[in-house]
Symmetry: none
């Protein structure tokens, strides 16, 4: 039986090396390359056409969403599985919108990683247990093909209006609704409506999480400790 050819794109060396090791140890898989750089991942994929890419969403210089969308162009046969510490549905959706076929978090089990690779390789979509539990329905997503891949990769911030973006920047600075209202010369109630809409659109439940999402978009990578 042919081994499934895998590319690992993950910026933490220890994780990248251990995953390479365990996948190569399994007779079903072979890691054809690994890299810590997302641009490199796209280049390598274009040359080696791996069947599967394990793609961390926190990478330089492109984030996982952008790298996934580009990868779909240079190597359409390659299937991407998103990998991250986050189970935030926003990231999951963004990865699928970018053309990913699977998503697992680092709270998944080792067996779950195998399952994900096998499922995606055989043409299925896959998300891990942790994300399923949040009520995410992978089959309810619009089908992603060459016609619309990448079109939704900016939908999070893109769906925020100018005012919402402006206000979210104020929130990020630690300003209260009262402060924002004063600064923008609008009613506190208006600010509150905007806040609510921002949280709803970005699917977070409080301002701290909002700021985390905003930071992750603008190039901050959040580590948890």
């Amino acid at each position: 039986m042919e081994k499934i050819r895998i590319l690992i794109a993950e910026d933490h060396k220890l994780i990248r090396e251990t995953w390479t090791f365990i996948l190569n140890t399994d007779s079903r898989f072979t890691v054809v390359a690994s890299c810590s750089d997302s641009s490199e991942a796209v280049e390598i994929a274009a040359i080696k056409n791996p069947e599967i890419v394990l793609m961390d969403i926190n990478m330089m210089p492109l984030n996982g969403f952008e790298a996934t969308a580009r990868l779909a162009i240079v190597s359409p046969e390659t299937k991407v599985i998103g990998l991250s510490f986050y189970s935030e549905l926003l990231f999951v959706k963004k990865m699928f919108a970018a053309g990913a076929k699977g998503y697992i978090t680092k709270n998944s089990g080792r067996e779950e990683m195998y399952e994900a690779i096998l499922a995606v390789h055989s043409g299925d979509l896959y998300v891990c247990e942790e994300i399923l539990k949040q009520g995410f329905d992978v089959h309810a997503l619009p089908v992603m093909d060459s016609s619309n891949i990448g079109t939704l990769t900016d939908n999070s911030m893109g769906s925020l209006t100018n005012k919402e973006i402006q206000i979210s920047q104020c929130i990020r600075q630690g300003l209260r609704s009262k402060d924002i209202a004063g600064r923008l010369s609008i009613s506190i109630k208006t600010v509150e409506v905007h806040r609510h809409n921002i949280l709803r659109k970005l699917q977070v439940r409080n301002s701290v999480s909002l700021v985390n999402v905003l930071n992750s978009k603008n190039g901050y990578v959040k580590y948890s400790f």
Copy 2:
């Protein structure tokens, strides 16, 4: 030759399982247990007396510093190697002050993890390349033994106590006081007191500003893409 007996304490299941796998694959090592809970790590160590503990510094309900200090009491022969995403010297120092004998980041190589285990097992102190490059001199540290272990887990970080640091990290993750109370098994009221004290000590007026201060000090890496 006797295998080196290892306990892995790491909250991300996928990482925990892959490390268990690769260490068990190597004839020099055997993973006697692994867990995602720091209290459990202390309990297990007390029973199994592993020679080495690989301890992630981000754990619940104790952080890595506290777990390491307690471990020194219940299993003095056990040597702890700190593991984290951070090369922040503050965290490295705190871990050594808590009694750790080694520290590697997740940017270390797989071979470096082996080296660390072997070095620490043979009685040396060890820090990875990445930390060495920052000019950290492990041998310049005061010697840690039963008389002073834990005494230096103090106020280098803006005079926040261990509990306050732990709670501020929970806040950073977007958790509410209710969530934090549940996770740490303490009263919401206690969490609120800590929150209040944290804000007062760091001279900020809300959680978003707190997170900004925490991010500016450590843990966040600004990427440009």
